[in-house]
Amino acid sequence: MPLLFAQGLRKSFGETRAVDGVDFLVESEELVSLVGSNGAGKTTLVNLLSGLLVPDAGSIAFQDADITAVPVRDRIKAGIARSFQLVNLFDQLSALDNVRLAIFSRDGTTRQVLRLAERNRHAREEALEILRDFGLEDKWDTPAAGLAQGERKLLDVALAYALRPKLILLDEPTSGVGTREKGTIMDAVAQLVQARGLAAVIVEHDMDVVFTYSHRIVMMHQGKVLAEGTPEQIRADERVATALLGKA
Protein backbone atom coordinates (compact mmCIF):
# COMPACT_ATOMS: atom_id res chain seq x y z
CA MET A 1 0.00 0.00 0.00
CA PRO A 2 1.38 3.45 -0.83
CA LEU A 3 1.87 5.97 1.97
CA LEU A 4 -0.26 8.58 0.25
CA PHE A 5 -2.78 7.86 -2.43
CA ALA A 6 -4.81 10.57 -4.15
CA GLN A 7 -7.41 9.78 -6.78
CA GLY A 8 -9.21 11.95 -9.29
CA LEU A 9 -8.34 15.24 -7.59
CA ARG A 10 -9.95 18.32 -9.07
CA LYS A 11 -9.77 21.94 -8.07
CA SER A 12 -11.00 24.93 -10.04
CA PHE A 13 -10.62 28.63 -9.41
CA GLY A 14 -13.43 30.24 -11.34
CA GLU A 15 -12.97 29.06 -14.92
CA THR A 16 -9.44 27.82 -14.42
CA ARG A 17 -9.01 24.12 -13.72
CA ALA A 18 -5.87 24.27 -11.66
CA VAL A 19 -5.88 20.57 -10.88
CA ASP A 20 -7.92 18.52 -13.32
CA GLY A 21 -8.29 14.87 -12.45
CA VAL A 22 -4.95 13.96 -10.94
CA ASP A 23 -4.05 10.56 -9.52
CA PHE A 24 -0.98 10.76 -7.36
CA LEU A 25 0.78 8.39 -5.03
CA VAL A 26 3.82 8.42 -2.81
CA GLU A 27 5.49 5.31 -1.41
CA SER A 28 7.21 5.23 1.98
CA GLU A 29 10.70 6.73 1.95
CA GLU A 30 10.25 7.83 -1.63
CA LEU A 31 11.45 11.18 -2.92
CA VAL A 32 9.07 12.37 -5.64
CA SER A 33 9.63 15.53 -7.66
CA LEU A 34 6.74 17.49 -9.11
CA VAL A 35 7.79 19.38 -12.21
CA GLY A 36 6.07 21.43 -14.84
CA SER A 37 5.78 24.98 -16.09
CA ASN A 38 4.23 27.78 -14.09
CA GLY A 39 0.51 27.27 -13.76
CA ALA A 40 0.77 23.52 -14.27
CA GLY A 41 -0.99 22.96 -10.95
CA LYS A 42 1.91 21.80 -8.80
CA THR A 43 1.38 24.20 -5.93
CA THR A 44 -2.36 23.64 -6.02
CA LEU A 45 -1.77 19.91 -5.76
CA VAL A 46 0.49 20.45 -2.74
CA ASN A 47 -2.13 22.72 -1.21
CA LEU A 48 -4.75 20.01 -1.66
CA LEU A 49 -2.55 17.35 -0.12
CA SER A 50 -1.57 19.54 2.84
CA GLY A 51 -5.11 20.70 3.54
CA LEU A 52 -4.73 24.38 2.70
CA LEU A 53 -7.37 23.78 0.02
CA VAL A 54 -10.24 21.32 -0.14
CA PRO A 55 -10.65 19.52 -3.48
CA ASP A 56 -13.81 19.95 -5.57
CA ALA A 57 -13.70 16.24 -6.33
CA GLY A 58 -11.54 13.21 -5.69
CA SER A 59 -10.14 11.63 -2.57
CA ILE A 60 -6.89 11.55 -0.61
CA ALA A 61 -5.87 8.62 1.57
CA PHE A 62 -2.90 8.64 3.91
CA GLN A 63 -1.81 5.37 5.49
CA ASP A 64 -5.12 3.88 4.38
CA ALA A 65 -7.19 6.53 6.15
CA ASP A 66 -9.29 8.96 4.16
CA ILE A 67 -8.07 12.50 4.80
CA THR A 68 -9.79 14.32 1.93
CA ALA A 69 -11.62 16.77 4.18
CA VAL A 70 -9.53 16.42 7.34
CA PRO A 71 -8.40 19.78 8.77
CA VAL A 72 -4.77 20.84 8.67
CA ARG A 73 -4.10 20.17 12.33
CA ASP A 74 -5.17 16.55 12.08
CA ARG A 75 -3.15 16.00 8.92
CA ILE A 76 -0.11 17.22 10.78
CA LYS A 77 -0.86 14.78 13.59
CA ALA A 78 -1.23 12.03 11.01
CA GLY A 79 2.24 12.90 9.72
CA ILE A 80 2.01 15.30 6.78
CA ALA A 81 4.02 18.51 7.02
CA ARG A 82 4.84 21.12 4.44
CA SER A 83 7.02 24.09 3.66
CA PHE A 84 6.05 27.09 1.59
CA GLN A 85 7.19 28.54 -1.69
CA LEU A 86 6.90 32.07 -0.36
CA VAL A 87 8.66 31.70 2.95
CA ASN A 88 6.25 31.55 5.85
CA LEU A 89 8.01 32.04 9.16
CA PHE A 90 7.45 33.62 12.54
CA ASP A 91 9.40 36.70 11.66
CA GLN A 92 9.84 38.28 15.07
CA LEU A 93 10.85 35.03 16.76
CA SER A 94 14.43 33.77 16.72
CA ALA A 95 15.41 30.86 14.49
CA LEU A 96 15.60 28.75 17.64
CA ASP A 97 12.10 29.72 18.72
CA ASN A 98 10.74 29.05 15.24
CA VAL A 99 11.95 25.47 15.35
CA ARG A 100 11.18 25.08 19.04
CA LEU A 101 7.61 26.10 18.41
CA ALA A 102 7.17 23.28 15.93
CA ILE A 103 8.58 20.91 18.56
CA PHE A 104 6.27 22.23 21.29
CA SER A 105 3.31 21.92 18.99
CA ARG A 106 4.27 18.40 17.96
CA ASP A 107 4.67 17.33 21.59
CA GLY A 108 1.47 19.05 22.66
CA THR A 109 3.38 21.24 25.11
CA THR A 110 2.05 24.53 23.71
CA ARG A 111 -0.70 23.96 26.24
CA GLN A 112 1.78 24.65 29.03
CA VAL A 113 0.89 28.08 30.29
CA LEU A 114 2.80 28.32 33.55
CA ARG A 115 6.14 26.82 32.58
CA LEU A 116 9.01 28.72 30.99
CA ALA A 117 9.76 27.56 27.46
CA GLU A 118 13.43 27.86 28.33
CA ARG A 119 13.08 25.24 31.05
CA ASN A 120 12.32 22.55 28.50
CA ARG A 121 15.90 21.44 27.87
CA HIS A 122 14.85 18.66 25.51
CA ALA A 123 13.05 21.02 23.21
CA ARG A 124 15.98 23.41 23.24
CA GLU A 125 18.52 20.74 22.49
CA GLU A 126 16.45 19.15 19.79
CA ALA A 127 15.82 22.53 18.16
CA LEU A 128 19.54 23.33 18.20
CA GLU A 129 20.27 19.95 16.70
CA ILE A 130 17.83 20.56 13.88
CA LEU A 131 19.32 24.01 13.28
CA ARG A 132 22.73 22.34 13.12
CA ASP A 133 21.45 19.78 10.62
CA PHE A 134 20.30 22.63 8.42
CA GLY A 135 23.49 24.62 8.92
CA LEU A 136 21.75 27.39 10.79
CA GLU A 137 23.33 26.87 14.21
CA ASP A 138 25.18 30.19 14.11
CA LYS A 139 21.95 32.03 13.54
CA TRP A 140 19.94 30.50 16.37
CA ASP A 141 19.53 33.86 18.07
CA THR A 142 18.62 35.84 14.94
CA PRO A 143 14.99 36.77 14.37
CA ALA A 144 13.68 35.01 11.28
CA ALA A 145 13.17 38.37 9.61
CA GLY A 146 16.90 39.02 9.88
CA LEU A 147 18.01 35.89 8.01
CA ALA A 148 19.20 35.82 4.41
CA GLN A 149 16.82 34.44 1.79
CA GLY A 150 18.59 31.08 1.55
CA GLU A 151 18.62 30.73 5.32
CA ARG A 152 14.94 31.55 5.48
CA LYS A 153 14.24 28.85 2.92
CA LEU A 154 16.17 26.36 5.02
CA LEU A 155 14.41 27.41 8.21
CA ASP A 156 11.06 27.02 6.49
CA VAL A 157 11.96 23.43 5.65
CA ALA A 158 13.38 22.92 9.15
CA LEU A 159 10.02 23.86 10.68
CA ALA A 160 8.26 21.19 8.68
CA TYR A 161 11.04 18.70 9.45
CA ALA A 162 10.84 19.40 13.19
CA LEU A 163 7.26 18.13 13.20
CA ARG A 164 8.70 14.64 12.49
CA PRO A 165 6.35 13.92 9.63
CA LYS A 166 6.17 10.71 7.64
CA LEU A 167 5.62 12.73 4.49
CA ILE A 168 7.08 16.15 3.88
CA LEU A 169 5.78 18.39 1.10
CA LEU A 170 8.31 20.97 -0.05
CA ASP A 171 7.04 23.70 -2.34
CA GLU A 172 10.03 25.02 -4.27
CA PRO A 173 12.57 24.82 -1.46
CA THR A 174 15.26 26.35 -3.65
CA SER A 175 13.37 29.10 -5.47
CA GLY A 176 14.78 32.57 -5.16
CA VAL A 177 18.24 31.51 -3.98
CA GLY A 178 21.56 31.47 -5.81
CA THR A 179 22.77 28.45 -7.75
CA ARG A 180 25.42 27.58 -5.21
CA GLU A 181 22.98 27.72 -2.32
CA LYS A 182 20.54 25.51 -4.21
CA GLY A 183 22.95 22.62 -3.97
CA THR A 184 23.48 23.21 -0.26
CA ILE A 185 19.79 23.29 0.45
CA MET A 186 19.01 20.22 -1.59
CA ASP A 187 21.94 18.25 -0.17
CA ALA A 188 20.77 19.01 3.33
CA VAL A 189 17.16 18.17 2.54
CA ALA A 190 17.92 14.96 0.66
CA GLN A 191 20.27 13.73 3.37
CA LEU A 192 17.84 14.40 6.18
CA VAL A 193 14.91 12.92 4.34
CA GLN A 194 16.85 9.75 3.70
CA ALA A 195 18.39 9.51 7.14
CA ARG A 196 14.99 9.78 8.79
CA GLY A 197 13.28 7.52 6.28
CA LEU A 198 10.80 10.22 5.28
CA ALA A 199 8.87 10.37 2.09
CA ALA A 200 9.08 13.69 0.31
CA VAL A 201 7.25 15.50 -2.47
CA ILE A 202 9.33 18.32 -3.88
CA VAL A 203 8.06 20.94 -6.27
CA GLU A 204 11.07 22.08 -8.26
CA HIS A 205 11.91 23.99 -11.41
CA ASP A 206 15.61 23.25 -11.66
CA MET A 207 15.86 20.05 -13.71
CA ASP A 208 19.47 19.39 -12.66
CA VAL A 209 18.33 19.33 -9.06
CA VAL A 210 15.38 17.14 -9.96
CA PHE A 211 17.41 14.58 -11.88
CA THR A 212 20.05 14.41 -9.17
CA TYR A 213 17.84 13.82 -6.16
CA SER A 214 14.53 12.23 -7.20
CA HIS A 215 13.50 8.59 -7.11
CA ARG A 216 10.53 9.37 -9.26
CA ILE A 217 9.44 12.40 -11.25
CA VAL A 218 5.87 13.48 -11.94
CA MET A 219 5.43 15.95 -14.73
CA MET A 220 2.32 18.12 -14.68
CA HIS A 221 0.89 20.20 -17.48
CA GLN A 222 -2.28 22.31 -17.42
CA GLY A 223 -3.65 20.62 -14.33
CA LYS A 224 -3.03 17.07 -15.53
CA VAL A 225 -0.25 14.55 -15.09
CA LEU A 226 1.60 14.50 -18.39
CA ALA A 227 4.25 11.90 -17.60
CA GLU A 228 5.82 10.11 -14.70
CA GLY A 229 8.70 7.76 -14.12
CA THR A 230 12.28 7.40 -12.96
CA PRO A 231 14.72 10.16 -13.86
CA GLU A 232 16.01 8.01 -16.73
CA GLN A 233 12.53 7.45 -18.13
CA ILE A 234 11.66 11.10 -17.86
CA ARG A 235 14.92 12.14 -19.48
CA ALA A 236 14.08 9.90 -22.40
CA ASP A 237 10.46 11.00 -22.67
CA GLU A 238 9.96 13.25 -25.67
CA ARG A 239 6.73 14.79 -24.43
CA VAL A 240 8.59 16.05 -21.38
CA ALA A 241 11.34 17.54 -23.47
CA THR A 242 8.79 19.28 -25.68
CA ALA A 243 6.84 20.61 -22.74
CA LEU A 244 9.94 21.86 -21.01
CA LEU A 245 11.64 23.18 -24.10
CA GLY A 246 8.45 24.63 -25.39
CA LYS A 247 8.30 26.57 -22.19
CA ALA A 248 11.95 27.58 -22.30
Binding site: T109, D138, W140
Partner: protein, 351 residues
Protein backbone atom coordinates in the same frame (compact mmCIF):
# COMPACT_ATOMS: atom_id res chain seq x y z
CA UNK B 1 29.47 40.46 14.45
CA UNK B 2 32.16 38.15 15.68
CA UNK B 3 34.31 36.59 13.01
CA UNK B 4 34.91 33.42 15.01
CA UNK B 5 32.69 30.50 14.12
CA UNK B 6 31.19 28.86 17.15
CA UNK B 7 29.96 25.35 17.45
CA UNK B 8 26.32 25.23 18.52
CA UNK B 9 27.31 24.33 22.06
CA UNK B 10 29.71 27.22 22.21
CA UNK B 11 26.97 29.37 20.78
CA UNK B 12 24.71 28.09 23.49
CA UNK B 13 27.04 29.07 26.30
CA UNK B 14 27.89 32.28 24.54
CA UNK B 15 24.21 32.81 24.10
CA UNK B 16 23.37 32.38 27.75
CA UNK B 17 26.27 34.65 28.58
CA UNK B 18 24.94 37.15 26.08
CA UNK B 19 21.44 36.75 27.49
CA UNK B 20 22.73 37.21 30.98
CA UNK B 21 24.46 40.40 29.96
CA UNK B 22 21.24 41.68 28.62
CA UNK B 23 19.14 40.48 31.51
CA UNK B 24 21.38 41.14 34.50
CA UNK B 25 21.21 44.95 34.58
CA UNK B 26 17.48 44.77 33.95
CA UNK B 27 17.16 42.36 36.86
CA UNK B 28 19.14 44.69 39.08
CA UNK B 29 16.99 47.66 38.15
CA UNK B 30 13.86 45.66 38.74
CA UNK B 31 15.07 44.43 42.12
CA UNK B 32 16.08 47.96 43.14
CA UNK B 33 12.72 49.37 42.09
CA UNK B 34 10.85 46.59 43.85
CA UNK B 35 12.84 47.24 47.02
CA UNK B 36 12.16 50.97 46.74
CA UNK B 37 8.45 50.28 46.33
CA UNK B 38 8.49 47.98 49.37
CA UNK B 39 10.27 50.52 51.56
CA UNK B 40 8.47 53.56 50.20
CA UNK B 41 6.10 54.19 53.12
CA UNK B 42 9.11 54.47 55.45
CA UNK B 43 11.04 56.93 53.34
CA UNK B 44 8.94 60.00 53.99
CA UNK B 45 11.74 61.75 55.85
CA UNK B 46 14.45 61.00 53.29
CA UNK B 47 15.58 64.19 51.50
CA UNK B 48 15.56 63.58 47.76
CA UNK B 49 12.83 60.99 47.41
CA UNK B 50 10.75 61.94 50.45
CA UNK B 51 8.11 63.70 48.37
CA UNK B 52 7.51 60.48 46.48
CA UNK B 53 6.76 58.72 49.76
CA UNK B 54 3.99 61.02 50.94
CA UNK B 55 0.60 59.36 51.41
CA UNK B 56 -0.78 61.25 48.43
CA UNK B 57 2.01 60.05 46.18
CA UNK B 58 1.67 56.50 47.45
CA UNK B 59 -1.99 56.51 46.53
CA UNK B 60 -1.00 57.82 43.11
CA UNK B 61 1.45 54.99 42.72
CA UNK B 62 -1.24 52.53 43.75
CA UNK B 63 -3.42 53.80 40.92
CA UNK B 64 -0.44 53.46 38.62
CA UNK B 65 0.15 49.84 39.68
CA UNK B 66 -3.50 48.99 39.09
CA UNK B 67 -3.36 50.50 35.61
CA UNK B 68 -0.12 48.64 34.99
CA UNK B 69 -1.80 45.31 35.66
CA UNK B 70 -4.57 46.21 33.22
CA UNK B 71 -2.09 47.38 30.57
CA UNK B 72 0.05 44.25 30.96
CA UNK B 73 -3.03 42.08 30.60
CA UNK B 74 -4.15 44.07 27.58
CA UNK B 75 -0.73 43.66 26.02
CA UNK B 76 -0.98 39.87 26.18
CA UNK B 77 -3.44 40.45 23.36
CA UNK B 78 -1.90 43.40 21.54
CA UNK B 79 1.82 42.76 21.84
CA UNK B 80 1.82 38.98 22.09
CA UNK B 81 -1.20 37.85 20.07
CA UNK B 82 -1.49 40.78 17.67
CA UNK B 83 -5.07 41.65 18.54
CA UNK B 84 -6.00 45.26 19.31
CA UNK B 85 -8.98 45.34 21.66
CA UNK B 86 -11.03 48.48 22.14
CA UNK B 87 -13.22 46.75 24.69
CA UNK B 88 -11.06 46.10 27.74
CA UNK B 89 -13.09 48.61 29.73
CA UNK B 90 -15.74 45.88 29.82
CA UNK B 91 -13.51 43.62 31.92
CA UNK B 92 -12.03 46.36 34.06
CA UNK B 93 -15.34 48.11 34.65
CA UNK B 94 -17.27 44.85 34.79
CA UNK B 95 -15.07 43.63 37.65
CA UNK B 96 -15.34 46.95 39.50
CA UNK B 97 -19.12 46.83 39.14
CA UNK B 98 -19.15 43.25 40.36
CA UNK B 99 -17.48 44.49 43.53
CA UNK B 100 -19.98 47.35 43.79
CA UNK B 101 -22.94 45.01 43.38
CA UNK B 102 -21.47 42.67 45.96
CA UNK B 103 -21.54 45.55 48.43
CA UNK B 104 -24.98 46.76 47.41
CA UNK B 105 -26.84 43.47 47.39
CA UNK B 106 -24.85 41.00 49.48
CA UNK B 107 -23.24 43.47 51.89
CA UNK B 108 -19.90 41.83 51.42
CA UNK B 109 -17.03 44.09 52.46
CA UNK B 110 -14.14 41.70 51.94
CA UNK B 111 -11.44 42.54 49.41
CA UNK B 112 -11.00 38.86 48.63
CA UNK B 113 -14.70 38.79 47.89
CA UNK B 114 -14.24 41.71 45.50
CA UNK B 115 -11.34 40.00 43.80
CA UNK B 116 -13.22 36.76 43.44
CA UNK B 117 -16.32 38.50 42.09
CA UNK B 118 -14.23 40.66 39.78
CA UNK B 119 -12.20 37.78 38.47
CA UNK B 120 -15.25 35.62 37.91
CA UNK B 121 -17.24 38.33 36.14
CA UNK B 122 -14.28 39.21 33.93
CA UNK B 123 -13.72 35.55 33.13
CA UNK B 124 -17.34 35.05 32.13
CA UNK B 125 -17.48 38.27 30.12
CA UNK B 126 -14.19 37.51 28.38
CA UNK B 127 -15.24 33.95 27.61
CA UNK B 128 -18.47 35.19 26.02
CA UNK B 129 -17.05 38.22 24.22
CA UNK B 130 -14.04 36.21 23.18
CA UNK B 131 -16.06 33.45 21.59
CA UNK B 132 -17.50 36.04 19.20
CA UNK B 133 -14.51 38.33 18.75
CA UNK B 134 -11.68 35.87 18.13
CA UNK B 135 -13.38 34.62 15.00
CA UNK B 136 -12.05 37.80 13.47
CA UNK B 137 -8.77 39.62 13.51
CA UNK B 138 -7.49 43.06 12.75
CA UNK B 139 -10.06 45.83 12.42
CA UNK B 140 -13.02 43.46 12.72
CA UNK B 141 -11.75 42.29 16.07
CA UNK B 142 -11.15 45.86 17.22
CA UNK B 143 -14.59 47.17 16.39
CA UNK B 144 -16.35 44.04 17.64
CA UNK B 145 -14.72 44.44 21.04
CA UNK B 146 -15.62 48.13 20.98
CA UNK B 147 -19.25 47.42 20.10
CA UNK B 148 -19.71 44.67 22.71
CA UNK B 149 -18.18 46.73 25.49
CA UNK B 150 -20.45 49.62 24.57
CA UNK B 151 -23.42 47.32 25.10
CA UNK B 152 -22.26 46.76 28.66
CA UNK B 153 -21.85 50.50 29.15
CA UNK B 154 -25.35 51.14 27.82
CA UNK B 155 -26.72 48.46 30.16
CA UNK B 156 -25.02 50.11 33.15
CA UNK B 157 -26.75 53.35 32.24
CA UNK B 158 -30.14 51.88 31.40
CA UNK B 159 -30.52 49.62 34.42
CA UNK B 160 -29.97 52.54 36.75
CA UNK B 161 -32.05 51.01 39.52
CA UNK B 162 -29.40 48.34 39.77
CA UNK B 163 -26.28 50.31 38.90
CA UNK B 164 -27.32 53.79 40.14
CA UNK B 165 -26.78 55.11 36.59
CA UNK B 166 -24.26 57.91 36.26
CA UNK B 167 -24.00 58.30 40.05
CA UNK B 168 -22.36 54.91 40.21
CA UNK B 169 -21.95 52.49 43.06
CA UNK B 170 -19.93 53.47 46.07
CA UNK B 171 -17.38 51.04 47.41
CA UNK B 172 -16.53 51.36 51.09
CA UNK B 173 -13.14 50.42 52.51
CA UNK B 174 -13.05 46.62 52.54
CA UNK B 175 -11.49 44.24 55.03
CA UNK B 176 -8.36 42.53 53.84
CA UNK B 177 -7.17 38.95 54.11
CA UNK B 178 -10.53 37.43 55.01
CA UNK B 179 -11.17 39.96 57.72
CA UNK B 180 -7.75 39.69 59.32
CA UNK B 181 -7.17 43.37 58.62
CA UNK B 182 -10.24 45.31 59.66
CA UNK B 183 -11.80 48.43 58.21
CA UNK B 184 -11.25 50.72 61.17
CA UNK B 185 -8.90 53.67 60.95
CA UNK B 186 -8.77 56.59 58.62
CA UNK B 187 -9.15 56.08 54.92
CA UNK B 188 -6.02 57.87 53.71
CA UNK B 189 -3.90 55.84 56.09
CA UNK B 190 -5.60 52.64 54.88
CA UNK B 191 -5.18 53.41 51.19
CA UNK B 192 -1.66 54.78 51.40
CA UNK B 193 -0.26 52.09 53.64
CA UNK B 194 -2.24 48.86 54.08
CA UNK B 195 -3.90 48.89 50.70
CA UNK B 196 -0.72 50.10 49.05
CA UNK B 197 1.04 46.94 50.20
CA UNK B 198 -1.92 44.79 49.29
CA UNK B 199 -1.90 46.10 45.73
CA UNK B 200 1.87 45.93 45.52
CA UNK B 201 1.88 42.23 46.40
CA UNK B 202 -0.87 41.43 43.93
CA UNK B 203 0.97 43.49 41.36
CA UNK B 204 4.13 41.44 41.85
CA UNK B 205 2.16 38.22 41.59
CA UNK B 206 0.40 39.36 38.41
CA UNK B 207 3.65 40.50 36.80
CA UNK B 208 5.33 37.23 37.66
CA UNK B 209 2.46 35.09 36.41
CA UNK B 210 2.02 37.07 33.20
CA UNK B 211 5.76 37.07 32.69
CA UNK B 212 5.82 33.30 32.88
CA UNK B 213 2.81 33.05 30.55
CA UNK B 214 4.53 35.29 28.02
CA UNK B 215 7.67 33.14 28.08
CA UNK B 216 5.88 29.79 28.23
CA UNK B 217 5.41 27.50 25.26
CA UNK B 218 1.85 28.80 25.20
CA UNK B 219 3.12 32.39 25.07
CA UNK B 220 5.45 31.48 22.22
CA UNK B 221 2.51 29.95 20.38
CA UNK B 222 0.64 33.24 20.75
CA UNK B 223 3.59 35.13 19.30
CA UNK B 224 3.74 32.66 16.45
CA UNK B 225 0.06 33.30 15.72
CA UNK B 226 0.74 37.02 15.82
CA UNK B 227 3.62 36.71 13.37
CA UNK B 228 2.10 34.28 10.92
CA UNK B 229 -1.34 32.81 11.32
CA UNK B 230 -1.10 30.42 8.38
CA UNK B 231 2.22 28.95 9.43
CA UNK B 232 1.03 28.63 13.01
CA UNK B 233 -1.77 26.50 11.65
CA UNK B 234 0.76 24.46 9.68
CA UNK B 235 2.84 23.63 12.71
CA UNK B 236 -0.36 22.33 14.23
CA UNK B 237 -1.51 25.14 16.51
CA UNK B 238 -5.28 25.61 16.89
CA UNK B 239 -5.18 29.28 16.04
CA UNK B 240 -8.67 30.33 16.99
CA UNK B 241 -8.71 28.34 20.21
CA UNK B 242 -5.40 29.86 21.32
CA UNK B 243 -6.64 33.34 20.53
CA UNK B 244 -9.63 32.62 22.72
CA UNK B 245 -7.42 31.42 25.58
CA UNK B 246 -5.35 34.57 25.25
CA UNK B 247 -8.49 36.69 25.25
CA UNK B 248 -9.82 35.03 28.40
CA UNK B 249 -6.50 35.27 30.24
CA UNK B 250 -6.15 38.90 29.24
CA UNK B 251 -9.70 39.67 30.34
CA UNK B 252 -9.25 37.89 33.67
CA UNK B 253 -6.16 39.88 34.65
CA UNK B 254 -7.84 43.08 33.54
CA UNK B 255 -10.65 42.08 35.87
CA UNK B 256 -8.20 41.75 38.78
CA UNK B 257 -7.09 45.30 38.06
CA UNK B 258 -10.70 46.46 37.97
CA UNK B 259 -11.47 44.83 41.32
CA UNK B 260 -8.39 46.48 42.87
CA UNK B 261 -9.46 49.80 41.41
CA UNK B 262 -12.92 49.73 42.98
CA UNK B 263 -12.06 50.41 46.66
CA UNK B 264 -9.14 52.63 45.66
CA UNK B 265 -11.45 54.93 43.76
CA UNK B 266 -14.30 54.37 46.24
CA UNK B 267 -16.79 54.65 43.39
CA UNK B 268 -17.56 52.86 40.15
CA UNK B 269 -19.14 55.03 37.47
CA UNK B 270 -20.04 54.09 33.90
CA UNK B 271 -16.92 55.98 32.79
CA UNK B 272 -14.82 52.89 33.39
CA UNK B 273 -17.08 50.86 31.10
CA UNK B 274 -17.04 53.41 28.30
CA UNK B 275 -14.91 52.95 25.19
CA UNK B 276 -12.85 55.99 26.14
CA UNK B 277 -11.55 54.01 29.10
CA UNK B 278 -10.62 51.15 26.78
CA UNK B 279 -8.84 53.81 24.80
CA UNK B 280 -6.91 54.83 27.91
CA UNK B 281 -5.74 51.25 28.40
CA UNK B 282 -4.62 51.19 24.78
CA UNK B 283 -2.89 54.50 25.33
CA UNK B 284 -0.94 53.49 28.42
CA UNK B 285 0.25 50.32 26.74
CA UNK B 286 1.49 52.13 23.66
CA UNK B 287 2.97 54.88 25.83
CA UNK B 288 5.07 52.36 27.73
CA UNK B 289 5.89 50.32 24.65
CA UNK B 290 3.82 47.38 23.48
CA UNK B 291 6.72 45.56 21.87
CA UNK B 292 8.25 44.66 25.23
CA UNK B 293 6.96 42.91 28.29
CA UNK B 294 7.71 45.65 30.81
CA UNK B 295 6.57 48.53 28.60
CA UNK B 296 2.95 48.44 29.79
CA UNK B 297 4.09 48.58 33.44
CA UNK B 298 5.93 51.82 32.82
CA UNK B 299 3.05 53.00 30.68
CA UNK B 300 0.44 52.40 33.38
CA UNK B 301 2.41 54.27 36.02
CA UNK B 302 3.39 57.09 33.66
CA UNK B 303 -0.17 57.40 32.44
CA UNK B 304 -1.48 57.90 35.94
CA UNK B 305 0.93 60.77 36.56
CA UNK B 306 -0.06 62.22 33.23
CA UNK B 307 -3.68 61.98 34.26
CA UNK B 308 -3.12 63.52 37.68
CA UNK B 309 -0.89 66.38 36.65
CA UNK B 310 -1.88 67.13 33.09
CA UNK B 311 -5.17 65.57 32.11
CA UNK B 312 -7.04 66.76 35.14
CA UNK B 313 -5.88 70.32 34.49
CA UNK B 314 -7.46 70.50 31.06
CA UNK B 315 -10.94 69.89 29.81
CA UNK B 316 -9.50 68.70 26.52
CA UNK B 317 -7.59 65.69 27.74
CA UNK B 318 -8.80 63.51 24.88
CA UNK B 319 -7.11 65.80 22.41
CA UNK B 320 -3.95 65.68 24.46
CA UNK B 321 -3.99 61.88 24.57
CA UNK B 322 -4.74 61.79 20.86
CA UNK B 323 -1.82 64.05 20.00
CA UNK B 324 0.57 62.04 22.16
CA UNK B 325 -0.71 58.79 20.65
CA UNK B 326 -0.25 60.05 17.09
CA UNK B 327 3.24 61.26 17.95
CA UNK B 328 4.09 57.92 19.57
CA UNK B 329 2.96 55.94 16.56
CA UNK B 330 4.78 58.16 14.09
CA UNK B 331 8.09 58.82 15.83
CA UNK B 332 8.33 56.67 18.97
CA UNK B 333 6.59 53.36 18.21
CA UNK B 334 8.51 51.58 20.97
CA UNK B 335 7.30 53.95 23.64
CA UNK B 336 9.12 54.79 26.86
CA UNK B 337 10.97 51.47 26.77
CA UNK B 338 12.30 52.39 23.36
CA UNK B 339 13.76 55.59 24.77
CA UNK B 340 15.52 53.69 27.55
CA UNK B 341 16.85 51.11 25.12
CA UNK B 342 18.10 53.86 22.86
CA UNK B 343 19.75 55.62 25.79
CA UNK B 344 21.55 52.50 27.03
CA UNK B 345 22.76 51.69 23.54
CA UNK B 346 24.24 55.16 23.26
CA UNK B 347 25.84 54.73 26.63
CA UNK B 348 27.44 51.48 25.54
CA UNK B 349 28.72 53.05 22.37
CA UNK B 350 30.21 55.94 24.26
CA UNK B 351 32.21 53.67 26.47
Amino acid sequence: MSSVQHSPDAALTLGTARDAHRIRPALWYTAALALLALLLPFLEGVPVIGWLASPFQRIQLTYGLVFSIAALAFNLLLGYTGLLSFGHAAFFGGAAYAAGLLVKYLHVYSMEGFLLAGLTSALVLAAVFGSVCVRYTRIFFSILTLALSQVLWALALKFFWITNGTDGLSIPTPTLLWGLVGTSGDKVRFLSFTYYYYVLVIFFVCVAVMGVIAASPFGKALQAIRDNEVRAQFVGIGVRRYRWYAFVISGAFTGVAGALFAPLNGLTTPDILHWTFSGKIVFMTVLGGFKSFIGPILGGIAYNYLETYVIKTTEYWQMLLGIILVALVLVMPRGIVGVFAWGSRREQRNR
